[in-house]
Each structure stands twice: as C-alpha cells, then as structure tokens.
Symmetry: C2
Subunit: 217 residues, 2 copies
DNA sequence: ATAAATATTTAGACATGGCTAAAAATAGAT
DNA sequence: ATCTATTTTTAGCCATGTCTAAATATTTAT
C-alpha cells in the first residue's frame, strides 16, 4: 500500500510521461505538484526504493512497469469516480476534479470493480480521457486538436486538453460538449482564430480554445 | 477542516458519549481507537484548542455543541456511504465498515447531499443505526434488546449492537436480517438462551446473540 | 575551456501523530 | 488518613512529509 503522497507523486510522473517520454525532471514534478524540488528529491528516493521508479541522480525518473501499473490504477479510480459524480450525482464536468482527487485514494478493489459495473463499464471520463482497465491498459482513440483541422473539415468533439473548471465553464457557455460535431468554416491567419459551425450556429473561437479541444475526424 | 485523525477521535468520543453521559476518560478513548493513552492525551489538547471538546485535566472530555455537530456530520457520512455500498454496489452488511471508514473523511458537502438524494434520503444504515440529518439531528426509534423481550412476545429486528463482520455473518447464516419478525417461544433460565420462531422455523439462540439484536415491539 | 546560469541534492528545521518510560494525580482499600 | 493501584500526563524519541538555505552538479553561452 502507498500513502496518499506517494500516490500523488506516482500519478504526477505518469501524467508527465504521457507528454515527454524522456526522464522526468525533479523540477517538472515539483511544478506539477506545486511543491519544492527538495521535497521531490526526497520522495524520489523513496519511490525508487519501492521499485516504482528508476532513478539516477541528476537524470530524472522513469516509472517501472510496476510503477506504471500502479499509476494506471490510480488514474482508473480517479476517472471512474468522475463518471460517477457526473452520471449519478449530477455534478457538472467542471466540479468533479477536486472530489475525485480525494476519492482516488480510497483502498478497496471491490469498491472500484462494483463502481465500474454500476456505471456500465465506461471507457472515458467526463472530459473524454480514457479509463484504464483493471490491468492498467488504456485504448487511446485517434484524436486531433481542433486547431489542426483544415477548412471545411468536420469532427466530433471527444475530449479536452485543459480540464480546468474555468475552461470547462467557458465551453458550457458556448454550448460545446463532448459528442458535438464541429465544422471549420474559416481559419483566420491573422490571429489563428476559427469560424466554426456547430448545430445550427456559426461563431468564432480563439486559437487558445481550439488548441484545447480534441476532435475525432 | 479537520485531519482524519482528528475526525476519528471526535467520532470515537461521540460514540462513547452515547453510552455513558459522563466525561469520557482518556483510557476509554485509547481503548476504542486501539492507541495509547499518551497519544490521546496529546490529541485532547488539540481538540480542546479547536473548541471541539471541553477538557479539564484528569476529568475526561465532553464534546461541545460544535463538537457534537461535527461528529454527527462524520457519522452521517459514514452511514450514507454504508447504504450506498449495500444498495448500489452490492456489498453485504458485513463488508461495508472498513470502506465507509475511509469514505467518511472525503470533504465535499455537495457529494454528501447528492448521495443522500441518490439513495432516497435513507433514515437508517444497513445495521439499523439512524442517519443524522444535515443539522446533526437523529431520530432514535424505540427499540429493545431481543434478550429483554418476554415469553410469547414478538418484535421486528431493527438493528444490531455489535456490527463486527463475524457477528453479521453469523446472522446471515441463521437467516436473521433487519425487518424479520421474531417471536420468543421459551426463555431458558439455565443458560439464558432463547427458543424463537422466525418465518416458519423454530430454533434456539444464545444469550450472547440476543444481547446484540435490537427489536421493535 | 571556462564562467555563468540552472537544476539537483543535502543538511537541518518544523509540524503532525504516534510510541515508551517515567512522573504526577486521582481513586480505592484498609 | 495513608498507602496502593490505577489513570493520566509529561518528556523525549521516531517516522512521514514538508520547507529553506547552502552545497554540488550540470548545462549553456561565450
């Protein structure tokens, strides 16, 4: 069993690895967890002793297979709880993160398996992120940023990159939710904003937004 | 906000107060939490500083109104989660305690209110214990120990005193669940065992069992 | 190749919450 | 009333996880 702190570090490293491949630097972890590099340095030693990460001084860390499996399990719990909060408890997608952050540390395999069943074995969380299965495998779906679509191309919104509540509430205001079909009407070279069509409405969105929305073509 | 440790102490004192009225001794708390008196002594100081308990050296503690409300809220969470586990996740009544013990520390008022609604605002947990409302009030129902019923009296099983999984599994084996009607056929002076009738069956149960079952006449 | 900037680690401190062993206070028995 | 047994508190130590400040290693720029 791991402490909540250990689990948070494992998860942070896991998320950072999905972005960079290379060894994860002490500083990157510190930034992600808004803590100090010295604290990270201490914890890395501990995780290394527990065979969760491979660590060579001054060279960053990598999760071992065991570490990856452990991380995937935490992520699985986090995302299943998010689905539960939205589907069963009427939370909106911008409210779930902090609570799931607590719930993910509950230790009970039966709880998670039954929750999975109650929810109908969901494959994605409310932000479109995939839910790892019991063995830690996750099927990534083919997706591209909205900003990478070309003029006159269409896609279905399948996820968000930034899942801060600010961004999510902004999307709510615009009526953009997972599953919506969006068509690029025009790309403005000037500011990289996009004119799009969604349902029967046409409006324009900034590049910043387009860079945070994942689409399936 | 309180730490998990603090919450566990508050809850322990709350439960002890339902039994004894008088100030709760350091030793009693230590025993309940299977910890040492010295640790309790330290924690009591802290809870006292936080106005959760009133404490005079060598005289035990009492919860303040604020402490009682805090405790009732933790108990509310614990019992709602127990209902959830049984009703929605197919846990049996002997499996819920340890998981609820973890879940009760999750901080999110919305979570608990929505959970309450999802479960249909239950008034009792799977062991027959009442669930405090949002303000910490709980309606106690009139109940007596099975061992206090007289010959030929009948009652409906409404709760258990000992909710250890051993005892609960024993009850399962005997087919005794909440809601069952039990009639006393005979009381044996010899060993205080009881001959009872339940459904169409007649069998005998020991005094130990009868002392742990609550009945509504 | 070396100096400056950046990143990482170590050393030492602090807070929480637990423990043991010893001291102090209270309660009980005579 | 006093001595004994019990309870409670204190003192001091340990582990976890955090921090700051200082030392050390690495990278970058010239």
């Amino acid at each position: 069993m791991f402490s909540q702190s250990e689990e948070n570090y494992i998860k942070a490293i896991y998320h950072l690895e999905t972005i960079s491949n290379a060894g994860i630097s002490t500083n990157a972890i510190a930034k992600k967890l808004t803590t100090k590099a010295s604290s990270v340095s201490d914890m890395i030693k501990k995780l290394s002793e527990k065979k969760l990460v491979v660590y060579k001084k001054y060279q960053g860390v990598k999760l071992t297979d065991y570490g990856k499996k452990t991380a995937a399990n935490i992520v699985r719990k986090h995302r299943l709880w998010e689905v539960f909060l939205v589907e069963k408890l009427n939370f909106s997608w911008d409210e779930v993160h902090d609570v799931a952050e607590q719930l993910e540390h509950i230790k009970s395999p039966k709880l998670i398996n039954q929750l999975d069943a109650l929810l109908g074995f969901p494959t994605h969380d409310p932000h479109g992120d995939p839910i790892p299965d019991k063995d830690g495998n996750l099927k990534t779906i083919e997706k591209s940023l909205l900003s990478s679509l070309h003029k006159n191309e269409s896609g279905i919104c399948v996820g968000v990159d930034d899942s801060s509540s600010e961004f999510l509430r902004f999307l709510d205001k615009k009526g953009i939710t997972l599953g919506k079909t969006i068509t690029i009407l025009e790309k403005e070279d000037f500011d990289d904003s996009l004119s799009i069509q969604m349902d029967d409405k046409r409006f324009s969105i900034s590049n910043k937004i387009a860079n945070n929305l994942y689409m399936k073509k």
